[in-house]
């Protein structure tokens, strides 16, 4: 479906550009959601519905909410917004150009397959089996890592708050 691909690309790239160009952090966060949703759409187009839905659930539904929560708790609306000074344009533009040059020169050398095999029909079950059989140790390690991060965040928050 080329039309769907075009719409998704517009949403993803437009969202990504919006994140960088918006002068308000909150607007940037909402543009980021648009980019996340566009990427989720790509997963659906590729036949990975499970990954696509999880992308929406985790990134748009949790990560973006966390960003917004942090921004709103730490910043007031009266605070000055980011300016668009020539120095900033130069810095951001230069970094983007450097990254684009690196990616283009290195990605071109790699022989990418142009014909992909059709996705497996029951890939949700396949993901589950892969996670709990060959990849069970990394999966559990990631779980412990996330738990440690959670406990660490709690510890930091408690220290800041004093006795409570």
């Amino acid at each position: 479906m080329p039309e769907a691909f075009g719409i998704l690309t517009l949403a993803t790239l437009g969202g990504a550009l919006g994140v960088v160009l918006a002068t308000d952090v909150v607007h940037s966060a909402y543009f980021l959601v648009l980019a996340f949703l566009g990427v989720a759409g790509y997963y659906f187009l590729l036949g990975g519905e499970f990954v696509g839905a999880v992308q929406i659930l985790i990134y748009a539904g949790a990560v973006a909410v966390l960003f917004l929560f942090a921004v709103m708790l730490t910043r007031r609306r009266a605070d000055p917004v980011w300016g668009r000074s020539p120095a900033r344009w130069l810095g951001v533009g230069g970094a983007a150009a450097l990254l684009a040059w690196l990616l283009l020169t290195h990605l071109e050398r790699h022989p990418w397959p142009t014909k992909l095999p059709p996705p497996a029909p029951h890939n949700t079950a396949l993901i589950g089996k892969a996670l709990f059989r060959p990849f069970v140790v990394p999966f559990e390690v990631v779980s412990v890592l996330l738990l440690a991060a959670l406990v660490g965040a709690l510890l930091l928050a408690r220290k800041e708050g004093g006795a409570s």
């Binding site: 909402y30 999880v54 929406i56 539904g61 949790a62």
Partner: protein
Amino acid sequence: MGQPYLRLAAAALILAAFVLGTAAFLVWFERKLLGRMQVRPGPNRVGPGGLLQPVADILKLTVKEDILPEHADRPLFRLAPLMAFVPAFAAFVVLPFGPGLVSADLNIGLLWILAVSTVSVLALIAAGWASNSKYALLGGMRAAAQMISYEVPLVLSLIGVVLAAGSLRLGRIVAAQAHLWFAVPQVLGFIVYLIAATAESNRSPFDLPEGESELVAGFHTEYSGVRFAFFFLAEYSYVFLAAAIATLAFLGGWSGPFLPPVVWFLVKTYAVIFFIIWLRATLPRIRIDQLLSFGWKVLLPLSLVNIFLVGLFRFI
């Protein structure tokens, strides 16, 4: 362009009509029921039994002035009502009303509904933030805290159903309940789901994001006219969705004797909606700290116990 797009457009139009009609009917249903439960007649002036009251309300809301508060974040303020409604509508796309009666039969239907409905939290935060009003901001923050907290037990309570059915496809989940409704062996999961879903759709006794006595109207304090109507529409869509998922995942879906499947589906869904409205008429609003500690310290462990029990029974 061609056939698939035409079919999609037709499905979208039918669904839009259904969602609008359902929301309008639910407004009447809720007001009438609340009235009866509080020993008063409820709306009874416009049309037979007040049935046309929501039509009059919609007409009133559409002709009202669309007020934009000064110093509001204009693009976000304008976008927020749509952001609230679009995910609700997207969730309806995979909802089966009967065998084969579904716009898009995704094999991850249940996950899709859970995933897209989380996006509407962003709309409530946007509305609260963009209004530039302390009541709206407080309402938006409460909405975020509440919906993130109750999403966890909500999803975990449905994991038990997915485990027992072995599929995320809503049709397969209904088929797995041919002999016994999941509400019977997983009564714990069903109770956790009902409480979490009521909280997730910001309904009383969990309507803290718009608690009238404290926050005027919470995140939609500054909204009027059509934009306010969109928030209303989203809320009632979520009430219907919550009841529909309860029906599909725990109450055997559209299966039942004699009557056609669609009728059974609607009867069961409206029974759950009746229960949710009954809760509103009965219980006082709880406090935000009670709400959050109840979600994390009671509902979350209970939903984990439910998953453990389901796993245990499948294992033996």
